[in-house]
């Protein structure tokens, strides 16, 4: 996989933005800022998806994550935690310290693994960026989903249905318990 100089610059830029967004999620004092940092992270990733010839997923990332999910988080914040001060002190004792240390070890391990990767070995598929540009990403993805992965696709719809029903049940249970 080669990249033009412009692409390289853009990759680095979006990557920096994504990291900055993620860091602001975990460092922000107020949860609303966290949600906004998450939004930044999602948008930066969506841009990277599009640059990686996965246009449909990039759009879906914007709609589902940056749209629906962030908005849901904000609703939840407004409902319960919007006006409450953030918790005192983010680092709580040895647990957090040990956790941070472990995360660093984890990152080092992954980095070592990635660096040890031997070039671009592995089975090459037929779906090159040129093919995608020619046939269109949505068409290709749609064909793959509905031909090869039809069963997981349908199961995903069942999963979403279950999610809807579950959310409704949670809401109902709340109302009933209040009536009592």
């Amino acid at each position: 996989m080669t990249a033009t100089p412009l692409e390289t610059v853009l990759f680095i830029a979006f990557g920096a933005v994504a990291i900055a967004g993620a860091l602001s999620v975990i460092l922000a004092r107020h949860a609303v800022y966290s949600a906004l940092g998450m939004l930044v992270n999602f948008v930066a990733l969506a841009a990277m998806y599009i640059m990686l010839s996965a246009e449909f997923l990039g759009i879906a990332q914007l709609i589902v994550y940056a749209g629906a999910i962030v908005v849901l988080f904000l609703f939840a914040l407004m409902l319960i935690g919007g006006r409450r001060p953030a918790e005192q002190g983010r680092l709580t004792g040895g647990l957090a310290a040990a956790g941070s240390a472990l995360v660093v070890v984890f990152l080092a391990e992954i980095a070592y693994l990635v660096m040890r990767l031997t070039g671009t070995a592995g089975a090459k598929g037929t779906v090159t960026p040129d093919v995608i540009a020619q046939l269109g990403h949505i068409q290709l993805l749609g064909a793959t989903l509905l031909l090869e992965y039809i069963l997981p696709f349908e199961l995903a719809s069942v999963l979403l249905l279950v999610g809807i029903v579950g959310a409704v049940m949670l809401a109902r249970a709340r109302r009933q318990s209040r009536q009592e």
């Binding site: 992270n41 990686l52 914040l77 990767l117 592995g122 809401a171």
Partner: protein, 100 residues
Amino acid sequence: MDAIRYLLILSAVLFSIGAAGVLIRRNALVIFMCIEIMLNAVNLTFIALSRQLQSLDGQIFVFMVMAVAAAEVAIGLGIIVSIFRHKPTTDVDDVSLLKG
């Protein structure tokens, strides 16, 4: 450094940030956001490798992860709100009835 290594390391960094957030924050909503960050980091890996291997299979996974994440957020936020109605706190350390 070629692009694939850069992307993989980027996603590892994002994943680590998410994991660290889960460990150091106590606000249930923020922890939940960190989980979303981790999911997205994995998605980035899938897409990068899909491009590298010139196959759409990885993107199918991303699609499924998105579907699961949507459902999970709906349910998860519902649960958090339910807990809040029961006991007005968003601190996960206050919800520890199941301790041994």
